[in-house]
Symmetry: C2
DNA sequence: AATTATAGTTACTTTTAGTAACTTAGAAGC
DNA sequence: GCTTCTAAGTTACTAAAAGTAACTATAATT
């Protein structure tokens, strides 16, 4: 029997999914699965846009983010940034000035996340078909 | 000047994020950015659990999925599966029997997505710290 | 003394998520 | 031949989250 490259990839994928299940099943029950937490609590469209903008521009102030993200309101940006800060994805840097000056940037974890989300984004751009239709 | 491996990785990451911005900026305005669509319309926690379960078990019936995903209601599973079907992530196979028999599985695009989400999941398991605390 | 600027907050409305009970249609048991 | 069972949902309702619009604090500037 000849084991091809494709067979090995198939095996690796299956093994990865199996590993993932074994690792996350007990975490899911206790509500501590980081993947579930990321997707249920932290990964809405506004979070994605904040992470991508900070990944590109590195440091942005509140109103710069608001200007870059079309459609976001001050309240939703505030709520989103607090959530990302709680999850150690975004760092908040306050200057004691008037008018206030607050700079936002990614943490090292946030940078790694941005890198991986961009990877996923590129794959989606190349591979999604049905998603290209405007939906809902 | 010596170009190190780290420099090259840094460069590649920056280039990827730049590419991503250039590609998605016009798509965002028209509401046709697949990444934004995936995250805003299709990527909630229930979608993630459905995709992961189907990635692992390959084929599952409605009540099997419901049994595997703790906490999901019939309505939310129904809504989620319809959304995933609309986005070409999940395939629905109906048998003309009574009581009804419906089998769900991933499309080829859904399988690719599952693979990438598991990759992200493994990275999160290894690298997330703050996410490990129960939040919200 | 009024105006401007930044980074939000507060009160309110609309949309979405979640819950619980109901539906459909034939097959099997009594 | 009447009741019970089953799978895969749906329907009507409530709770929670997202979204909108107007407001606030503080000091420097006009």
């Amino acid at each position: 029997m000849v084991v091809t490259k494709a067979d090995n990839e198939e095996f690796t994928l299956k093994k990865n999914i199996k590993d993932y299940f074994i690792k996350t099943r007990p975490l899911l029950e206790s509500g501590l699965c980081p993947t579930a937490q990321l997707f249920s609590a932290s990964m809405d469209k506004w979070s994605l846009f904040c992470i991508m903008n900070l990944g590109y521009y590195k440091v942005l102030r509140f109103n710069e983010l608001k200007g870059n993200i079309t459609g976001i309101s001050a309240r939703m940006l505030s709520v989103t940034l607090k959530k990302l800060e709680r999850n150690d994805i975004v760092k908040r840097n306050v200057y004691a000035e008037v008018p206030p000056k607050v700079e936002y940037s990614l943490t090292p974890f946030g940078e790694g996340l941005a890198e991986r989300l961009v990877g996923l984004g590129h794959w989606l751009l190349d591979n999604s078909t049905r998603l290209k239709e405007k939906n809902k």
